[in-house]
Amino acid sequence: MQKIEIDPISRLEGHGKIAIFLDDAGDVAEAYLQIPELRGFEQFCVGRPVEELPRITPRICGV
């Protein structure tokens, strides 16, 4: 089985990786999209003053 790996997915912000598996006939058998990034906004916003969040959460995605 042939594997095509697209890493990184380009022309977008953020990180993504696609793995495509081809069967013997060359058709797509299965494709996987992976997001390989962990930053932890869900946790590190906890405990910050609420009026500060408009200056933290924009850094989730700045595009």
């Binding site: 594997k3 953020g14 996987y32 930053r39 405990g47 500060e52 850094r59």
Partner: protein, 326 residues
């Protein structure tokens, strides 16, 4: 100029705002295109890792790295960019000093993951499924990078030549950096390409000789006087320790500085400098009074190291003590 220069732009644990800042230089981008070939910029053009790997070592004139170093894939990218580039520029606050992603250093990676995959209200994951570094799919093996124990600044991982600070870096300093490359007049290694003084020196707000604060207040609870120093009005502002060059953008817009340009040349630790600045303007006769006034700063470490926790000298120690707030 015999050949065209070669530029590469590498993203890591970042938000993409730095890449937008590059595009924000408007028509100067044409000058950049005239001056240099872009040999790697996956956010904007169709480049893959193998394109970068195929380049001869040291062949990139300037490699711009944005984002913190969060996982082993970022480490690989950082080292690869170093190997291929004559100069490496830490582009933006994350690469310079950890940035917003390094706020996660207050917790362990396991705690961050637990929140993200188990307890966030929008997640329904009764089986506790977590991303695996390796997964044997029926069709073949899939792999993911391993998140390290914390977010690192770029210079904690590789040798860095210059720093372009800011969240995001300001257009005029990006242009200044490009012009320096074009003219061949490079500053000494380690230079932070921005101002050399503090934000207060650029700030248009009026300061009195003797700052005296008897109460710290949260910014939304006061109607702040746009002519007067925010700190003097009891609003926490990181201006005294922060490098200038942003033309006091936040303060001019009515918001306090949060230090995205990082410390000035003569400040080693941003938090220590800010703690001393805050202490010196607080007016109290007794310890209890000082405790009461400073008690209103709910999240001092979060204010003082908002963009630079990875570079804090104290570092976050884990295992000894957990504040109740966590």
């Amino acid at each position: 100029m015999p050949d065209k220069f070669k530029f590469a732009f590498m993203p890591s644990a970042s938000c993409g705002g730095c890449e937008i800042a590059i595009v924000d230089i408007d028509e100067v981008i044409l000058k950049v295109a005239e001056l240099a070939d872009i040999v790697y910029w996956p956010t904007a053009l169709d480049f893959k890792d193998h394109h970068l790997e195929a380049l001869p070592d040291g062949s990139i004139t300037v490699g711009f790295f944005n984002g913190a170093v969060r996982n082993d894939h970022d480490v690989h990218h950082a080292k690869l960019l170093r190997q291929k580039s004559a100069f490496v520029v830490a582009f933006g606050a994350c690469a310079q000093m950890g940035g917003i992603p390094s706020l996660g250093n207050f917790w362990t990676t396991e705690e961050l993951a637990h929140r993200m995959y188990d307890t966030v209200p929008s997640v329904n994951n009764p089986e506790g499924t977590r991303p695996q570094l390796k997964y044997d799919a029926p069709e073949g093996e899939l792999t993911l990078p391993r998140a390290m124990d914390r977010a690192y600044a770029l210079d904690q991982v590789i040798d860095v030549d210059y720093y372009l600070p800011g969240c995001p870096p300001q257009v005029k300093w990006i242009v200044a950096a490009v012009e320096a490359v074009a003219s061949g007049e490079l500053p000494p290694k380690g230079t932070v390409i921005a101002g050399t003084k503090a934000v207060c020196d650029e700030c248009p707000r009026e300061r009195s000789e003797e700052k005296q604060v008897t109460e710290f207040k949260r910014i939304h609870l006061v109607e702040n006087d746009p002519e007067k120093c925010l700190l003097e009005q009891g609003i926490m502002c990181c201006g005294p320790a922060t490098r200038d060059g942003c033309e006091a953008a936040c303060v001019t817009a009515g918001q306090a500085c949060r230090g995205c340009f990082g410390p000035t040349d003569n400040v080693n630790d941003m938090g220590a400098k800010l703690a001393s600045a805050i202490a010196s303007i607080t007016v109290a006769d007794a310890q209890e009074e000082a405790d009461r006034i400073l008690g209103h700063l709910d999240d001092p470490a979060g204010y003082f190291y908002r963009f630079g926790l990875a570079k804090s000298m104290l570092g976050v120690q884990r295992g000894e003590f957990k504040p109740e707030a966590e």
